[in-house]
């Protein structure tokens, strides 16, 4: 069992998928099926890294913010009725929190770089969170966006030379995939809510940004990832949830695949 859990493929795909599926199946009657992504991600963190907070590195801050996003999302779903402005507000909050995550790296740069890189980090995080959270009412599109954002950030991170961030991203995608599978089977009874959309967007934004700043991922990859929550809004065919989930995932993977292609091309010396 222990040896099985040492396998990186198991750690970042099977384990978070199974953990996410169990969480979604147990919690969806409570309108908390969206916790699948957070639970899947946490399962991978438990076996790959750990939940230690000292020293509070960038990757550990990402785990902390992921947990806070899941808690805040749960609170928003259960205690409030999310509106169209929820995404914008959550995005602004996440953009500020992202600056805290990368403060140790920004602190080593000259003021002009701090302004440019800091503004870029905050803007990317705000956009990804605002546009993804606004999908909270649509479990199919939200699940497809989570799947593509997680896997896109994960595979791009691996191409950007960070396996740890890659595993974290793939775990997020696997947990979201488990949620989407339940949606495909049960249809509209499974709610995504702010719980899912806030967790996946915050974590995907931070993982991809970390791969740019801590490894060698090209920044243009972030632009392609930012298109994921836009493309999933394209029209879906009338029909069963599973069919809509497949089509929405195809839309989302056009952007996520584009992000990975950019990362791969940049790794081979391609420049703009």
């Amino acid at each position: 069992m222990n040896e099985w859990l040492q396998n990186p493929v198991i750690q970042s795909s099977v384990l978070p998928f199974v953990a996410g599926l169990l969480a979604a199946a147990i919690l969806f009657p409570l309108r908390l099926g969206g916790l699948a992504a957070a639970v899947g991600f946490a399962a991978t963190v438990a076996v790959v890294g750990n939940f230690a907070l000292e020293p509070l590195t960038v990757t550990r801050k990402i785990v902390v913010l992921g947990a806070m996003a899941a808690l805040l999302g749960t609170l928003a779903d259960l205690a409030f009725k999310p509106t169209r402005f929820t995404g914008i507000a959550m995005g602004a909050l996440a953009g500020g929190a992202a600056l805290w995550v990368f403060a140790s790296i920004l602190g080593q740069k000259i003021p002009a770089e701090v302004a440019i890189v800091g503004a870029g980090i905050a803007a990317f995080t705000w956009w990804l969170v605002a546009t993804t959270v606004s999908l909270h009412y649509d479990m199919v599109r939200a699940g497809a966006a989570g799947l593509a954002l997680g896997l896109g950030a994960g595979f791009a991170s691996v191409l950007g030379a960070s396996a740890l961030l890659g595993q974290y991203g793939m775990a997020l995608g696997a947990g979201s995939g488990a949620f989407l599978l339940l949606v495909m089977v049960l249809g509209g009874r499974v709610e995504a809510g702010v719980t899912l959309t806030l967790t996946v967007s915050v974590l995907a934004a931070l993982i991809a940004t970390a791969a740019v700043l801590l490894a060698k991922l090209h920044w243009l990859t972030l632009v392609a990832l930012a298109l994921v929550p836009v493309l999933v809004r394209l029209p879906l065919p009338r029909g069963p949830a599973w069919m809509q989930a497949v089509v929405a995932s195809v839309y989302a993977f056009v952007a996520a695949g584009g992000a990975c292609a950019l990362a791969w091309l940049a790794g081979r010396g391609w420049t703009i």
């Binding site: 020293p55 140790s104 080593q108 030379a161 970390a210 060698k216 990362a263 790794g267």
Partner: protein, 195 residues
Amino acid sequence: MKRITLGALALALPLAASAAPENYTLDPYHTYPHFAVEHFGVSIFWGRFDRSSGKFMIDRAAKKATLELTVNTASVSTGENDKGSRPRSLDEHLRSADFFNVAEFPRMTFKADDVKFNGDNPAEVTGQLTLLGVTRPLTLKVERWVCKDNPFNKKPMCGGNASGSLKRSDFGMKYALQAVSDEVRLTVGFEGYKD
């Protein structure tokens, strides 16, 4: 009596001068920390840091010494820096968050003030190694220690080799522990010029 005392003092003066603490600055062009790890438990894989700096003090009479070594972690080099058809080279991977996380932790430091002597020469140096924001004790055995004048510029210099081992997981570097050994052998070749 006064003359005898003054004479004795005059004779002792050069000895006192030589017993005073001596400060040395490490020569960055001849000071290189190397590391060795096992790969899949098969071969020993070597790497080094190309840029480091520091200083040391030695007081042979008092049997005391201190050492401060700062290593630029971004200068990690295994000789495998050509990515070829792959997205990234090994050196680029070593600089990422999986290993040395150089963007966040650009420096590794070793500060020591507990030095055991074997005669007039330092034999064992114990201090604190800070890597990835984590500080742990580390002991280096001094395997070679030579002091002489540089034959070209005649400057007094001391140097040698020291080595020790650490567990990288103690510093939070846990990536690929199945493939790359937890135990890291550290060997430092160093030379310093008297200030």
